[in-house]
């Protein structure tokens, strides 16, 4: 259902995508499958609010087409550095996040749930604070060179503080909710 945030997914032609995103992907030439950008929708996307640093995007990616599709990357004006992450157990059994090499593959007529504690889209080096109630545009880029755009509302979220496998990422927990993390700079005494 459509809600108060405009949620839409747009299929772009491979040519348009290359022009817009500078992507060098080559459309698949064999058997003329429907372009991934035309068969993939992102339902209920959202991004965790944060003042600076990094955040994560979630939602359910649906592949309504008859071919498996692979998301190779995500681009967004909100971040110059986005990664696809999965959560796996490390040697000691702890759940850690790491980049998903090769991207996310979504089977024909299947879904991929991106959720806190699981797979997600990582947004690093944020261009500006992600304020709750604002929106983030993201473009899912597919291995066939097409893409699909989505608009994700930004929401406060206390969780999604996963550990990372590797030292290059700090924890995401910059946004611990407390009274001082209000919209206002000044004190409030209601």
């Amino acid at each position: 259902m459509k809600t108060s945030f405009a949620l839409r997914t747009t299929a772009l032609s491979a040519a348009a995508l290359i022009a817009l995103a500078g992507c060098a992907g080559t459309p698949a030439a064999n058997s003329n499958p429907a372009p991934a950008g035309a068969t993939v929708t992102m339902k209920d996307p959202w991004v965790k609010a944060i003042d600076e640093g990094m955040s994560a995007g979630f939602g359910t990616i649906r592949n309504t087409g008859g071919q498996d599709i692979t998301i190779t990357s995500v681009t967004s004006p909100a971040s110059s550095d986005l990664e696809l992450h999965e959560t796996v157990a490390n040697e000691s059994g702890a759940m850690v996040m790491r980049e998903k090499t090769g991207g996310f593959t979504i089977p024909a007529h299947g879904e991929l749930h991106l959720e806190p504690g699981g797979s997600h889209i990582m947004l690093m080096d944020l261009a500006e604070p992600l304020k709750p109630g604002s929106t983030v545009n993201m473009s899912l880029e597919f291995s066939d060179g097409t893409s699909s755009e989505t608009i994700a509302p930004v929401k406060d979220f206390a969780g999604a503080n996963e550990n990372y496998d590797g030292s290059e990422h700090e924890g995401m927990d910059h946004g611990e909710m407390d009274k001082d993390d209000s919209e206002s700079e000044s004190a409030h005494d209601h």
């Binding site: 259902m1 108060s4 299947g110 879904e111 109630g133 509302p153 929401k155 406060d156 919209e183 000044s186």
Partner: protein
């Protein structure tokens, strides 16, 4: 490997309209089809009717929760906007809360809902937004009709129950659904606002009585007999402004059930002018009989006393009428009390100043019931018009 699930549960795949009691004609109750979640929840072979999947539309020209046949449970949450909020951040807040309400009222989890399973039993959940003067001004509108009421001599207002910048009126036939919606929305509001007060109210449970039955308050009185009927032309003329908005007065009325206990049955009926049995005027036999204010008894006194509540509430001016939709409250007693009970009086009307205030002034000046009731909280909110899909409650204020 990506985790792949079967297609997610959809919203209502088939929708049937249920009509019952006074709700007939409103077309407001929508229930899921038999193939919905409710079928899985029903006991095997059981015939117990389940109400959890009944849904009230969120989008529309008016906000839901006003003409809706009152749900069994209600929570009124008044928020104070934090200092420093501006026009832009206020819109973000209202978008977030409208989105939460749009989803939860339809039995869908909110975005980023940490307890999504709690969002799947709406049981006629509605969320109605009210705006106080500060919010109106921040949106760039005049405070207008959201200004506080004048003082009345009967008032013993406590600041902790007064006013507020943003009201969330959350109601459902299921108290767990109310609690979850409240928690979810307050999580989204936390950065923008703090909680000023919460008033929880109740009526009889759904299914205990035919829907449309006038509620009883904790004095045992039938409370709300004279009320415009939602959907009628009369209702529309009393409640709705041309732009789809209305105003809401919410007053916390403490009821002194201990001194009320000292009053015998005839005294109780005399104070109001209605019988306790079925709420009929003491000059009639049925609840909706028109009171005969001229009728006299053997001694020549009017049957309905000069200071009886129903006489004082009525005005010659038919414009001075309101739509009541209140709830009972019954909180834990403190000290030596055994009861902390009362009424969350809620009325809707186009104009507070023209419709509500003159009536309240008359009741403040003289009303037998004042002996046992005390207003301890008071707030007024503008209830903006509803919104369409893709919009948010209050959007027209910002467009102006």
């Amino acid at each position: 490997m990506p985790h792949v699930d079967a297609p997610a549960k959809q919203g209502p795949s088939r929708r049937g309209i249920l009509f019952g009691g006074a709700a007939a004609g409103l077309g407001a109750i929508v229930a899921l089809g038999i193939d919905s979640l409710s079928s899985a929840a029903a006991p095997a072979g059981g015939s117990e009717p389940l109400h959890g999947q009944a849904v009230i539309p969120f989008y529309g020209s008016h906000q839901a929760g006003i003409t809706t046949e009152p749900q069994a449970h209600a929570s009124y949450v008044a928020l104070n906007l934090r200092d420093g909020l501006d026009h832009e951040s206020l819109q973000r807040l209202l978008r977030l809360l409208s989105d939460d309400a749009a989803r939860l009222t339809q039995g869908q989890a909110a975005l980023a809902d940490t307890e999504p399973e709690l969002g799947t039993v709406p049981a006629r959940l509605t969320v109605t937004f009210g705006f106080g003067p500060k919010l109106m001004e921040l949106a760039g509108s005049s405070a207008g009709e959201s200004q506080p009421l004048p003082e009345f001599k009967i008032d013993e207002l406590e600041e902790r129950w007064n006013d507020g910048d943003l009201l969330l009126h959350i109601a459902s036939d299921d108290p767990l659904s109310v609690a979850h919606a409240q928690r979810m929305m307050l999580k989204d509001a936390r950065r923008f606002a703090s909680v000023k007060w919460v008033q929880s109210g109740f009526r009889r449970s759904r299914g205990s009585e035919a829907s449309g039955t006038t509620m009883r308050n904790l004095f045992g009185q039938v409370d709300g007999t004279v009320n415009p009927v939602p959907g009628s032309e009369d209702f529309n003329s009393v409640v709705w402004n041309a732009d789809g908005s209305t105003t809401m007065v919410i007053r916390r009325i403490r009821m002194n059930v201990d001194t009320w206990d000292e009053l015998d049955r005839s005294g109780r009926e005399f104070s109001v002018g209605r019988t306790l049995g079925n709420g009929a005027p003491t000059t009639g036999s049925k609840e909706h009989d028109e009171p005969d204010f001229e009728a006299t008894n053997a001694l020549g006194f009017t049957v309905i006393a000069a200071h009886a509540h129903i006489r004082r509430a009525r005005s010659e001016n038919t414009n001075e009428r309101i739509f009541r939709r209140g709830y009972n409250y019954d909180e834990p007693p403190t000290g030596s009390e055994i009861s902390n009970s009362g009424l969350i009086f809620v009325s809707y009307q186009k104009s507070v100043a023209e419709q509500y205030t003159p009536m309240q002034q008359r009741l403040s000046d003289l009303d037998a019931l004042n002996q046992w009731t005390t207003p301890i909280g008071s707030a007024v909110f503008l209830i903006p018009q509803g919104c369409a899909e893709g919009g948010f409650i209050g959007e027209t204020l910002f467009a102006a």
